[in-house]
Symmetry: C2
Subunit: 359 residues, 2 copies
């Protein structure tokens, strides 16, 4: 069956197998570097691998940079996209527009040469890697030579002028987290952020602090209070308190609750990058409260059955990576919070020298 026009906008014409599915569900995409009429072809400079996916790949490669590179090359060659079959997640890319399809010429003024970041997952983005140059083992950034294709419905953001590219990319990668916090948190509420000292957690805390206001309370939770992120949260006042606890250990979480969250949280944001923390988020949240699972390592059944199992009537939300205006909200969160901005610049703008060359 020849796909109808509507479907082409979702990229179904790039699916090699199985037939009849869209690119995210597909096992394999056609990553041929041409721009069809409704596509944008980009020269990719770097991939920002999803935290859960990168962690899994690093562990499977025993932390060896050459093996990580080989793993990613093989994965992308096999699937035509960076879609980690273990974690189900991908990441995003930054690059320069090489060609805009004939049918999209007026598409938001985009033209060849523009530098953009993709805001759709690499799990549905046709990707070809010719070579991997460097890998930052600390952040999951991979500098490559290669090409990617954006579909008509694919989201992207022009890279801003007032922030280094790498910093903007790091923020855009998790743009959904601060944008959703801005929607969910009301003045005076108590907010718990699990995995608070990571990239999405920091942005979530800063946004929660602003939204909850002076009458509210923000509690950050992470396994180590000595990380740079944890210290930033406390020093800049993005959290009222930081609880040192591993969210995989419900015993530790339960022990921390009486002091840190005696009335539990109205809103809990899960930004962890490890599995097995769903029940801790549930136990931290009050009845009729809301849990926002931003983490891609969330298990649907663990969340659903966990809440039922402890008789907790909570609203649990799947972290949608997209929300209208999320890129602008996320970048503004950084601009509005100078200590956070400095931290992101220190950590992400200078990654190139720290990255390990491959080969």
């Amino acid at each position: 069956m020849k796909p109808i026009r509507k479907l082409c906008s979702l990229g179904s014409h790039r699916v090699l197998e199985p037939a009849g599915v869209l690119p995210q569900v597909a096992r394999k995409l056609d990553a041929t570097p041409v721009a069809h009429a409704n596509e944008i072809l980009c020269d990719v400079e770097a991939l920002n691998i999803d935290s859960a996916s990168f962690r899994q790949i690093v562990e499977a490669s025993d932390g060896d940079v050459a093996r990580v590179a080989a793993h990613v090359l093989a994965l992308v060659a096999d699937r035509g996209k960076h879609h980690n079959p273990v974690t189900g997640s991908g990441g995003m890319f930054v690059g320069r527009v090489r060609a805009v399809g004939a049918g999209l010429t007026g598409h938001a003024g985009l033209k060849a040469g523009d530098r953009i970041a993709s805001l759709v997952s690499l799990t549905l983005t046709p990707l070809r890697i010719d070579a991997i140059d460097r890998i930052d083992m600390a952040t999951g950034r991979i500098w490559i030579r290669g090409t990617a294709v954006l579909f008509e419905t694919g989201l992207y953001a022009a890279l801003p002028d007032d922030l280094p590219d790498d910093v903007a990319l790091a923020v855009l990668d998790v743009a959904g987290a601060p944008a959703q916090v801005r929607r969910l948190v009301l003045p005076g509420q108590t907010v718990a952020v699990v995995g608070a000292d990571g990239k999405s957690g920091l942005l979530a805390c800063a946004q929660a602090r602003e939204r909850a206001g002076p009458a509210g309370r923000v509690v950050g939770i992470g396994p180590d209070r000595a990380t740079a992120g944890a210290r930033l949260l406390v020093d800049a006042g993005y959290v009222d308190t930081f609880v040192e606890a591993d969210a995989r250990d419900v015993f530790a979480i339960l022990a921390a609750i009486p002091d840190a969250l005696p009335e539990l949280a109205d809103v809990t944001i899960s930004c962890v990058n490890v599995p097995g923390t769903e029940l801790s988020s549930i136990l931290l949240t009050k009845d009729r409260g809301t849990i926002y699972f931003f983490s891609m390592s969330t298990s649907f059944t663990a969340a659903a059955l966990g809440a039922e199992g402890v008789g907790k009537d909570v609203t649990m939300m799947v972290g949608n990576g997209y929300a209208k205006g999320h890129a602008a909200t996320a970048l503004q969160t950084l601009r509005d919070n100078p200590p956070l901005r400095r931290y992101f610049i220190e950590r992400f703008a200078a990654t190139a020298p720290a990255a390990t060359p491959v080969s």
Copy 2:
């Protein structure tokens, strides 16, 4: 470490491995048939296996009833609970209280001899099966001899007097669906129910029809318009229209949208029991609409990345099996809708003769 009192209420003292987790996460539970001070020991009469789990077991057993029985026996003997490792889901049980722990003597008036249905998942319920007597291959009910343990926080419902046990059990098993629909749907809204002709889908449609009111619109979706459930939906007016489409096929769903849901749904309820339908639910829902994933076969990453991938700003909720008052709401949905009540009685009350004896 000896668990502290708080944790015992969640059943951690029954965890055999690994250490430091709660029963739902545990690989193996101690199902010894005694009632500790904060436990309720029950003689189990029947298990109601979760639809996704039962389907997987039946498929793995090539539909052979003896092999299904052997599969379930081995699974429960191995884990001390019915926790399907493939689907991550379980089910519930009905039985008679044998003993109430000394510390729970006044527990809501519960006493030995009372007949109850568990409202917590079998994935966290210590279960011992001495023998399997009969299996209803159509509904996933399994009549056994054995015992189960409820913890202090474990939810249960006394079986009502005005409905046959089997019918009450069938309803209570999916009580979260109609209860959440009642909360989510507002008068005048458009509701799509995916997997509408199954047990949870039927209750969801009836509740949605009532809540949406005459100005609202309810659309049921399922792969076959000739099923008894699909015909009930149309004949009793629980849906305004029934769309015959397999939700795994996004092409079919997209083709149906212009006629059935030209403005898309405000609220979509996913009640399917097969994987791979997340994107269809997303495509059926309007921007800023809500999707309630009641189905245990939902993939968290497929939902999260699917919405992002097509640039759809929707609120996606994890189906919490528990909501305050959900048992009462679900049973009342049946009482308020005589055609639905008749259907459930025809289908579930008379299952015993249809069930296949094992051995």
